[in-house]
Each structure stands twice: as C-alpha cells, then as structure tokens.
Symmetry: C2
Subunit: 219 residues, 2 copies
C-alpha cells in the first residue's frame, strides 16, 4: 500500500470513530468544540479565562492535547472542572481514537460542554474529525494577516475564528481588517470575534457565542 492509500485508510478509520463520538454527543446533549491554532496563539489562556467565567454548577469538561508535558492540564485543573491531558508522544494532532480512550471514564450524560484543545498546529489537526459540532480556529495578532491564505483548510472548516491578543495591536504591525478580509476570502461568512485574554476584551462576546451554540444543541 502506498502512502496516500494508508493516509486514506487512517482517515477512514478516524471517521468511523468520529461519527460514533458525534452520535454519543448528540444522544447526551453535549456540545463538543475543537480549538485549533498555531502553537502559542493563546488556546490555553483563553480556556483559563473561559473556565474562570463559568459557574461551578455548569457541566463543562476539557481535554487538552500536547506532544509532551501535562502543563496545560495543570493550568486548567485549577478551575475545578474535569480536565485531562492527552499526551500524543510525537503525533502532530489529536485523533478520534485518543478522544474515545480519554472519555472512557467520564459519564457523557453528566456533561453539557466538552472543550477539546488540539495540539498547536495549523495543518494536521484540520484533517482529523473528532466528532465535534464545531471547529474554532484562533489567530493571534502577532502572527501575520496572511495566515488564512497560507493555511486555508483550517480556516475553511472552522465555524468561528477568534482573533486573539488584540491588546497587542498597538505594538505589532498587524492589520486586523486585512486579517478578517483574508479569513472571509477563504471562508465567506465566517464568524469572527476579537478577544484578549490579557485585557478581557471580547470575552463577553465569546461566552455569549458559546452559550448560544450550546442552546442550539440542547434544542
């Protein structure tokens, strides 16, 4: 079998498991979102601010992926919600099998929102369906406005783009209008929210987006 045939086989196997996950989320009324970005775009910082704003009674859990270290799970566990680290070893993305395995001892019927933080990588995670209802891509103001054009797949597949680190706009040569325009060239109509985990700007809008998106699942 050649490389492309194997890749297809791997992706087909992943798709079967992802479809099973999607059906389990649906049956249990769980919204699953899959956060994807380059390393250092601020996924974990955003999740810290997100969990901090959640009521402890909310039924939220997080799976966070990295090649190595439990750092992110440690940072996120402080907020009192269930958090698990998925350490991939050398693998450059999360796949549906890793999610299934790490969900084994969590009761989905007790959850309403499952946030998956993918490995920091703008390329490979876009090919692996995790059964999520929505992919969310983060782009930071320190990265350059042409990232949506250079990495179109993930911007095309994401329901929402979070433009992060907007507190740094005065200090970086970043044209936010052009970044939004590029994102919408790849994905017309994509929702975009500007946020800063440092200043708190935009976090209310993000929390509202999440709430509205959860309402659509429960309905």
């Amino acid at each position: 079998m050649n490389r492309i045939a194997v890749e297809k086989k791997v992706l087909n196997e992943n798709q079967i498991l992802a479809d099973e996950l999607r059906e389990r989320y649906r049956a249990n009324g769980v919204l699953c979102v899959n956060l994807i970005s380059a390393p250092g775009s601020g996924k974990t910082a955003l999740l810290e601010r997100t969990l901090e704003r959640m009521d402890r009674a909310e039924r939220v859990a997080v799976l966070t992926g990295d090649l190595q270290t439990e750092n992110d799970a440690r940072r996120l566990a402080k907020f009192g919600f269930p958090v698990k680290q998925i350490t991939t070893g050398g693998t450059c993305h999360l796949d549906a099998r890793m999610i299934t395995r790490h969900l084994a001892d969590w009761k989905l019927e007790e959850l309403e929102l499952l946030i998956v933080e993918n490995v920091g990588n703008l390329v490979c995670p876009s090919s692996y369906d995790l059964g999520e209802a929505a992919k969310i891509v983060l782009l930071s103001t320190t990265e350059g406005e042409d990232k949506p054009l250079k990495y179109p797949s993930i911007f095309f597949k994401s329901e929402l783009m979070l433009l992060t680190k907007i507190d740094l706009l005065p200090y970086v040569p970043f044209d936010a209008g052009l970044a939004r325009e590029n994102a919408r060239r790849v994905h017309p109509g994509m929702e975009i929210i500007d946020v800063s985990s440092t200043s708190g700007a935009g976090l209310d809008l993000w929390m509202e987006w999440l709430k509205a998106r959860r309402a659509r699942v429960v309905a």
Copy 2:
C-alpha cells in the same frame, strides 16, 4: 503495510535524498540552513532583515515553503537574491524531494549559502532531513516559555534557537530566562540569540553567527 511501516519507508526514502543533497552541498561548499518555527514566529521577517544586510555580491539563495500562496517569495525577492517558493499543497512540512526538485535549475557551484524556510509547524518538519548543515528553530516571545518542553524534538535537533520579537517583551507575560532554561533542559548547550526584526536588536549577532557557520563549511 501498516501506518508505522509506511512512515518508516517514507522517512527512509527521504533520508536517501537528504544524504545526496548533503553531499552536493559539501562538494560545492554550500552552507544550507533549515529554519523551522510555528506559524507567525517571524521566519520571513528575519529573512527580510537578513537579506537586506547581505552584500549583493554574496552568493545567497532562499527556498521558502508554504501550503499555499507565493507571498513569502514575493516579500523576499525584493532584495535581489534568487528566491523560490515551494508550495506544498496540503503537506505540513518540506521534504528532500521538494528541495531537490526546486534546486534543479540553480547551479550549486555558484552558491555559498542556501536558506530554507520551512512550513510554519513545530512538529512535522523536525522529522524530515533536508540535507541541511544546521536546523535553526525560532521561538517568539508571544508564544509561551514552555514550547521547548512541549515540542522537544525540534529544539533537541536545532543547533541554534533564535528568540524572536524581543521588542515585545514589555507587553507580553513572557519570561525569557525561563524560555532559555527550558530550551537548554531539552538541548543542553544549545546556542541562543535574542533578536527583533522590528527594532534590529540582536541582528548583528545573528549575522555573525551565520558568517562563522559559513566559514566552518568552506574550511
């Protein structure tokens, strides 16, 4: 053949081509360096500042990789040196075959320095030898100090780490000392240079490093 066997086969085939490239660089006295980082860490901006400081008589060329767009080649062509874009389609890294193909109509005997700018990705490019004399990893001050621990392979394999965007240090919660400590935990003795393509800080040291590294090849 299973996935791991195919990956091994792909990497073995890549190694044969990379070894051929390495021998051609050696025979022609060319220093080849392979720049690797997350998307948006400032590889292209650094190369703009680097080419700008080179004498036009210097025999320098650049191959720059992206999934899509010719943007980087356009930015770099302004400086009058030979530049080619390698557009990978969906592929998350450069491989030795792409390099060989794009070098076909360049005369290596007329070059002294070949700079390869890899696809923005901290994971996959670390597995693909391109025949380079040295890998150089860029980490920006906006990304978080624990990246060397989370993505150890590329930090272990790189001869030099460039800590980029140091002009942003007053505005980001980044501990440069801790970042260097983490890098050297993964790779004891690794060389580290702090740079800013915006303020120009550290660029002289980087140009000196490059010059000294070239001298080692010619010798």
